[in-house]
Symmetry: C2
């Protein structure tokens, strides 16, 4: 794996491109704020820490003829109370647009050396997602719009990060939710982006419509209830001109589904992750002015989301098992499997890959990621050790 | 408040008493491991940080004729699975004793300069608890047993820390759960301690009985279910000789009651506090092999414990209120009120005290502790700000 060309960052040119002093540029590298990727991607540099004005996950691409900066995913803040949040944050505009927030993982797609690559939220080149986007997206978009970056959600069951069967997708699809300029990160206005994506046949996140500020809270409540019934995640509320910051809001069922996943691997899961889902339920319950019966249903749903998966893990360990998450990937090029294995190893993930199984013209690989902390802690309890 | 005698710690004698080098003794003071108390208690030094072999909350008392060390409350570890934990931790003995774990706050009582004082878990002298124990405990115990320290739980509604009406107590009582030697912290064996406490008319935590290791898990399950029905807290399982470490275990209702309190002031509460209660429910549910109906009841109870208090706080703030905890204290000596006010202020607590109300020969004072973080955060949400 060492026969890829080593690339050194041209510090002076990079500094000039980012409009910062050379000395500062050197410090970004020394302090590992900016870190090169691996293998054939050593000319892609990830921003691993927050520094200067550039978000974590942004990627600096060094080309023969200069640089490009692919800006990270802007953090979308969350409404706890829909009505007040819409009123307060969108008071300057008349109408807001509501798009679906899907449950998958984020990638940014660019054309690099003749192929599409998918950059993850943190700025890595994911070999699996990269193979997929080459199949899913029309390359001519990138040839004809060299200054644009496609931001989208990878969704479906053949998903090494967030596998979900809730969208009726066979393997894995990319749903575009943003198109932004290279170097500046400026987004296309919503309708311009949707037209452009449609022109190239890209799948897009669903647009529920445009609503006045007054009607938006109750309309979105209806949308969220419908989304919840389907087990989908939520919405992103956007200024159609993409000038004001978008806001996200999720269905109770999605909060609970997050909890189910978290409590299965309870000892790995962040306390903050669990806490935040709980708090969302409290605020939603108040804002929607639920009657006692619906409130009790919400309480039961919350309680079951917490206890049922934990109970299953505890029983599983009692019966000699190890708590594990399972994933599937499906590729056309067998080489992608070993590339992805190496990639996971590099990221410090301890994952067991099955032998590839041929399905049509593709290979299916099962992956198993043991939750060591939850498995060990649970076993210790069965052996009679004390909690703390 | 400055006319109390200033006391300097006699470093050399203290070092010799603690059997450590003088240099180390000096460092304990410089690094604020050992810190003097206030006012008339400047000759009592608290261990504020873990150091050498002495637990946090231990108190070094400097007297004219030497020193005493009042050791802290030993941390009692928790069983997640009763059966395995009893088997593993008490395999060397034939029988274990089960005493009630009550829901209040811990104090250690000693006689000092002719009066009883109550030391809190952290080693402060609580003026309120001190007044109370002087009334509640027979002083002759301390005169006749100068080497012993009484460890107990302050329980009842007139309680500035953990007010509970669950025990049918009118004001505040002390329940002895441990008697230990000064300086060494060695505990009296369980029956010796109970006999001694009875002799002096002390109230004691309930002894449920002694059980063989084999029968203990199912017997304790029955006890815990009974305790849960009454809304009480749990049990401590002890080696009657007090040689092996005790183990605690609590009822589901008590875990849920903790959650109710925590979620009322959700933004103040530690994520770990919430997480640990949740995990206890998961393990208990598995070990008790609940049927689906009982399991759903547990899920509902958990969900309601989380959402109902949070909902009430959110509604309360919408209606212009501030989320607050309320407490009552009841004293004979009016001076105790101002002493306790000063004490709370010293501890950095922002508490509003009502005017004292005369009830019989006592004064009743209401205290209100506003949860600033929860109140502010909730209000910000109603104003339309975003979570993060």
């Amino acid at each position: 794996m060492d026969n890829y060309p080593q690339t050194e960052l041209n510090v002076e040119d990079a500094a000039s491109f980012l409009k910062i002093p050379v000395q500062q540029m050197k410090e970004l590298i020394e302090r590992k704020v900016l870190v090169p990727n691996w293998n054939e991607y050593q000319h892609l540099f990830r921003f691993e820490r927050k520094s200067i004005r550039i978000d974590i996950g942004s990627v600096l691409v060094q080309k023969d003829d200069g640089f490009n900066l692919i800006l990270g995913f802007p953090k979308i803040k969350r409404a706890m109370l829909l009505g007040p949040a819409i009123k307060f944050n969108f008071s300057d505009i008349k109408k807001i647009a509501v798009e679906e927030k899907m449950n998958g993982y984020n990638v940014r797609v660019i054309l690099l050396d003749g192929k599409l690559i998918a950059l993850t939220r943190k700025g890595y080149v994911c070999p699996y997602s990269s193979e997929k986007v080459n199949d899913l997206l029309d390359h001519s978009f990138f040839v004809e719009n060299p200054q644009l970056v496609v931001y989208g959600e990878m969704v479906g069951p053949d998903n090494p990060y967030v596998p979900k069967g809730i969208y009726g997708i066979e393997s894995l699809e990319l749903f575009v939710f943003d198109i932004r300029q290279k170097d500046t990160g400026v987004p296309l206005p919503l309708y311009e982006r949707r037209r452009l994506a449609e022109k190239y046949g890209f799948r897009q996140v669903r647009l529920f419509g445009e609503f006045s500020i007054q009607e938006a809270p109750s309309m979105i409540m209806n949308i969220i209830q419908e989304i919840g019934r389907k087990g989908h995640e939520g919405v992103v509320i956007k200024d159609p001109n993409m000038v004001l910051q978008p806001i996200k809001y999720t269905a109770s069922q999605s909060n609970c589904s997050d909890l189910q996943h978290a409590l299965k691997i309870y000892n790995e899961s962040g306390r903050d992750f669990i806490f935040s889902r709980i708090v969302r339920e409290g605020f939603q319950s108040v804002e929607w002015d639920e009657n006692e019966e619906d409130f009790r249903k919400r309480c039961l749903r919350l309680g079951e989301s917490i206890l049922r998966p934990m109970k299953e893990s505890i029983v599983h360990v009692r019966e000699g098992g190890r708590v594990a998450e399972e994933f599937t990937i499906r590729v056309k090029d067998r080489a992608t499997i070993s590339k992805f294995e190496e990639y996971m190893r590099r990221l410090g993930m301890d994952i067991v890959f099955s032998e590839p199984k041929t399905v049509g013209d593709e290979y299916l690989v099962h992956m198993k990621k043991v939750s060591k902390s939850t498995s060990d802690k649970t076993l210790a309890m069965w052996e009679g050790q004390l909690w703390s």
